[in-house]
């Protein structure tokens, strides 16, 4: 064998620097092959960037009216890209500010439901037996409460408050999460590797933290991407009913509500927020579908 080929062999066989491909990296590569999911990911990233820096770049403010332009259509001349509403406020800025609130509600409420749901579901599923029964009956009990009634009562008692919306939506959504996580935990806890961890001397807490929760994440990630749009929609619905955010703050749902009232005179005030809302929901759903396909353990090998 010549020196050259030997070198080539050595290089090819040198595995010292090879990092293994974790299941998540595999899934990530699969996700990148899914055009719809990648598009959705790009749309969402743009949306987040736009919502954060867009209002800073604009000359207008979301609460101060432009006294010279009431209900003007979109135009470059006036500088109101999306037009103005009946009070003369710039709709471009209001749409982006509304997007901040909508996305924030989506993320925070989902995060709240995520934390409660995972810990509750994992504990119930892992402990099993009577504890599990008791915990899940409690969940069933809360499920039976009419959600809208619950929210309306909260709003009436504590006044309209954006923090309350997070709490109210999170308090309902963790129920689904807890059920999903519990089911998944039930199947995980009988897996050999959990028994192997126990045989290795691991404590129960260690097993939940190091084995159960990391293996739940695949399912949870998919569920999160499908929960965020659901939460955004719930918030929109609440705002549409007039129970959501308080003026002058706004959200996509509140903007759609205002726009719908002026549909005949100022259709743009409905069109832009509605498009943003729809695009975001679409993107989240496509991303969720893509993630589900990518993380599906059935084609792991």
């Amino acid at each position: 064998m010549s020196e050259v080929t030997r070198d080539a062999f050595d290089r090819a066989l040198d595995t010292r620097n090879v990092r293994g491909r974790s299941l998540y990296i595999d899934a990530w590569h699969r996700l990148l092959k899914n055009k719809a999911a990648v598009t959705a990911l790009i749309v969402l990233s743009l949306m987040v960037v736009l919502v954060i820096i867009g209002p800073m770049l604009s000359n207008w403010d979301h609460e101060i009216p432009d006294w010279e332009h009431y209900s003007t259509p979109p135009s470059l001349e006036t500088g109101h890209l999306f037009g103005t509403d009946a009070l003369g406020r710039d709709l471009f800025v209001r749409t982006l500010i509304g997007g901040r609130i909508s996305l924030l509600v989506g993320l925070v409420a989902t995060l709240v439901s995520l934390i409660i749901g995972i810990s509750y579901g994992a504990v119930a599923g892992f402990l099993g037996g009577r504890v599990d029964n008791l915990m899940m009956r409690f969940v069933d009990g809360i499920y039976a409460m009419p959600f809208m009634f619950f929210v309306i009562v909260l709003m009436v008692v504590f006044g309209r408050n954006i923090f309350l919306i997070f709490v109210a939506i999170g308090a309902i959504n963790w129920l689904d999460m807890a059920r999903i996580v519990r089911g998944q935990t039930l199947s995980l806890k009988n897996k050999d590797f959990v028994e192997a961890a126990r045989a290795s001397g691991a404590t129960e807490f260690h097993i939940i933290r190091r084995h159960i929760i990391p293996n739940l994440l695949g399912v949870v990630i998919v569920y999160v991407t499908l929960t965020i749009p659901q939460v955004i929609l719930v918030e929109s619905f609440l705002s549409f009913l007039g129970l959501g955010v308080q003026e002058p703050l706004t959200s996509w749902g509140a903007l759609v509500n205002e726009g719908a009232q002026e549909l005949e005179t100022a259709p743009w005030s409905l069109l832009f927020p509605a498009c943003f809302l729809a695009a975001t929901l679409f993107a989240f759903n496509f991303l969720g579908d893509g993630l589900r396909d990518a993380l599906d353990p059935k084609d792991r090998f």
């Binding site: 090879v18 028994e195 126990r198 290795s200 084995h211 990391p214 090998f301």
Partner: protein, 346 residues
């Protein structure tokens, strides 16, 4: 062998599960005797093979020794201390000395962890003060010992073959220097060529590290290859215990005999010429075991007395034990005629 003190003394061990056979809202609890009245000793650096059909309680026995299932009765005395009476926490700490190797090589490894993390897990649990570097060195050394390249430390289990996964499982079991390793069918999920590698690896490591091994399998030839002594189980009870050679050359219990006769001989001429008495029927349900001797429903030598009396494990010469009421008659008879002796008048 018996001159040394045993490391593990199992006495009258019984593991029962409560099974609900009721329909709808009616409960009907029955007792499943997975392991019943099992006693044996294990000596230092010895390999004890445990054989039996699936469902005979081998795995439950393994789990009971590690305290993963709690026995209903009996004792598991490890180095003079009864494990059955320990609290969960004390039992957990004992697992530094007793480790387990699993049947399903891939299933027993967490798919989200790298090999390094998997092998390091027992170290992290038992020696939380070890530095990262020390852990890494120990893991790399362990991987080398079981024949894996330490370069693969950052790989994930699904990137390995079944045999390699089993090596990872062995590395994980040995990383804390246990004194006893219970192998629960460690090779039955592997290809035959890989089986030999893994079995030989276990044998080498046992010699090197002076381990005691409990080797559970349903493959008699594998057990013969690794074991010093062999314990035969049927329906949760011990049928026979003897040295490896005596049990294969001179089985005393009719069940052992049937098991050995069912192993094919790798010589077509001899195989065809052999008179076989294959076991008929299935193992009875452990929920409703036969009275008397549990094997009598399938035993070619069963006599009426077998239904009335439960055979106890009887000590014979050379430290071998057998639980059969008629083993002496059967032995004499089988040697002469190689056929079934008539049942005695009752």
């Amino acid at each position: 062998m018996s001159s040394r003190a045993p490391v593990l003394k199992v006495r009258d061990l019984a593991v029962h599960f409560r099974v609900d056979r009721g329909r709808f809202f009616r409960h009907d609890y029955q007792t499943l005797r997975a392991v019943d009245n099992v006693s044996f000793d294990l000596y230092p650096a010895e390999t004890l093979g445990i054989v039996g059909e699936s469902g005979c309680g081998k795995s439950t026995l393994a789990r009971a020794i590690l305290g993963l299932v709690r026995p209903q009765a009996g004792s598991v005395v490890w180095l003079g201390e009864d494990l059955a009476g320990l609290s969960d926490e004390a039992m957990r700490l004992k697992r530094r000395e007793i480790q387990l190797i699993f049947q399903d090589p891939l299933g027993s490894l967490d798919p989200r962890m790298t090999v390094g993390e998997i092998v390091a897990e027992p170290l992290r649990v038992f020696y939380p003060s070890m530095s990262r570097l020390q852990v890494r060195e120990r893991v790399a050394g362990m991987m080398k010992l079981v024949g894996l390249s330490p370069a693969q430390i950052n790989r994930y289990p699904h990137e390995f073959s079944g045999g390699q996964c089993q090596r990872i499982g062995i590395a994980r079991a040995l990383v804390v220097n246990p004194r006893l390793v219970v192998c629960d069918e460690p090779v039955s999920a592997l290809d035959v060529s890989i089986q030999a590698q893994i079995v030989n690896l276990l044998k080498d490591l046992q010699k090197k590290l002076q381990l005691s091994l409990i080797f559970i399998a349903h493959d008699l030839s594998v057990v013969r290859h690794v074991s010093d002594r062999v314990l035969v189980m049927y329906l949760g009870r011990i049928m026979e215990v003897a040295d490896r050679d005596s049990i294969y050359l001179d089985p005393r219990h009719p069940y052992t005999r049937a098991l050995i006769e069912s192993v094919p001989i790798p010589d077509p001429v001899a195989e065809r010429a052999r008179v076989r008495r294959a076991l008929e029927g299935d193992m009875p349900s452990p929920l409703d075991p036969p009275t008397g001797c549990v094997f009598r429903t399938r035993c070619p030598f069963a006599a009426p007395v077998c239904a009335d009396r439960v055979p106890v494990l009887e000590a014979l010469e050379d430290g071998r034990q057998v639980a059969c009421l008629r083993h002496e008659e059967i032995r004499g008879f089988a040697e002469e005629t190689n056929s079934v002796p008539p049942a005695p008048e009752s």
